[in-house]
């Protein structure tokens, strides 16, 4: 069976094939979800290269754990849960390492989306750089649960019910975490709004 046929299969069918060591089926899963996984990982670690490394590890872990996926929830729910947890774990390791190295610098770890404004409007470039830097800093200072909730909502446009399924909490908890996360970010960015 060639790749073109596999692309038409549902996630559940591809998972069943992958459980039987069908790597071609798993490849389709990777291609189908890699953008989303990288995006979610990036939202937490704020570094593109690290986000890609984490995403590779996520898919390797998913493949090895396929027997644990019983189909009780949607596949992407399980995938996102693994992604946010691995990204948070990565962040914790980095922070521990930075604490040991006595690194007090604020670490804006990635290029900001400023290429267009830099050429046309230098003042706008400086202004945008500040805002995006502050936004990253604000997200970084959220609690882990608020950060996960915020990223899943803003990056993936998931419903509150979907986020609740991923994070194994109630819709009310999702609503509360998002409110507090946005309120904190608003306080950080107030001078720029």
């Amino acid at each position: 069976m060639n790749d073109a046929d596999y692309t038409e299969y549902s996630d559940e069918t591809l998972i069943e094939k992958a459980k039987k060591s069908d790597l071609e089926a798993f490849k389709i899963i990777v291609e189908r979800y890699q953008t989303r996984v990288i995006s979610v990982a990036y939202g937490i670690v704020h570094n593109e290269d690290d986000a890609k490394d984490i995403s590779q590890d996520v898919f390797v872990k998913v493949y090895k754990s396929l027997d644990n996926f019983q189909g009780n929830s949607r596949f992407y729910t399980w995938l996102y849960r693994i992604t946010v947890n691995m990204a948070i774990d990565y962040n914790r390791k980095i922070k521990r390492k930075q604490a040991m190295e006595y690194n007090d610098d604020i670490n804006v770890k990635t290029e900001l989306p400023l290429a267009d404004s830099k050429q046309a409007l230098p003042d706008k470039y400086i202004y945008d750089k500040e805002i995006y830097g502050k936004l990253q800093e604000a997200i970084e200072n959220l609690s882990e649960e608020q950060k996960k909730t915020f990223i899943l909502r803003e990056m993936e446009d998931l419903s509150y019910q979907e986020i609740a399924d991923i994070m194994k909490c109630s819709v009310g908890t999702v609503m509360s975490r998002l409110y507090y996360a946005r309120d904190k970010i608003r306080l950080y960015l107030k001078p720029y709004l």
Binding site: S21, L23, K27, V30, E31, Q34, T35, I38, S39, Y42, G43, E48, A51, K52, S55, Q56, F59, V60, Y63, K64, L112, P113, I131, Y132, L135, Q136, R153, E154, M155, S159, Y160, M175, L178, Y179, R182, D183, I185, R186, L189, K190, L193
Partner: protein
């Protein structure tokens, strides 16, 4: 800001995400018509959402172009070559081998303990030797339970020993 604004501000995040039911949504919209501070708060949330989408939008665009598959496949192939070559599904035979090794080790340990216990107990039950002081001379008694034998030594003086 009015006291009841706190109630509505807590709803604005869910209102922005269209997660309120129709009754709650109507209630919030009615409040927004007459409350400028809540309207400003909502505008702030919309701006933050716009900045967040700009910040992450470029990453989404780039990640769509890169393929992770080559590296993932290489990692999966590396991991498979480290496993013991056994028939059966991926990983399960390795687990079964560990379990059976652990069980065998426990059985050997138990057998060892039993053997040690049996030998010491056998020796303890094999014979009894007592030393009895009597008026005439000291007596040593040996009793072997397994063969039902009793041997008695009588010491008539310091240098001679006779037994029965």
């Amino acid at each position: 800001m009015a006291v009841n604004c706190k109630y509505y501000i807590e709803k604005l995040s869910a209102y922005l995400d269209n997660e309120l039911n129709s009754r709650e949504k109507a209630d919030v919209e009615l409040h927004l018509e007459s409350c400028m501070s809540c309207r400003e708060y909502l505008n702030d949330l919309k701006q933050i959402q716009g900045y967040t989408q700009d910040l992450y939008g470029r990453v989404r665009k780039n990640s769509h172009q890169d393929s992770l598959w080559a590296n993932i496949e290489a990692q999966l192939n590396d991991n498979e070559s480290e496993l013991i070559e056994l028939p059966g599904s991926f990983g399960k035979k390795k687990f079964a081998l560990w379990i059976s090794s652990a069980v065998a080790a426990c059985l050997i340990l138990l057998a060892g303990f039993y053997a040690y216990y049996a030998i010491t107990k056998l020796n303890q039950n094999q014979c009894i030797v007592t030393w009895v002081e009597s008026k005439k001379a000291p007596v040593m008694v040996y009793k072997d339970k397994s063969t039902n034998t009793t041997i008695i030594w009588m010491f008539s003086d310091e240098n001679s020993v006779s037994n029965t």
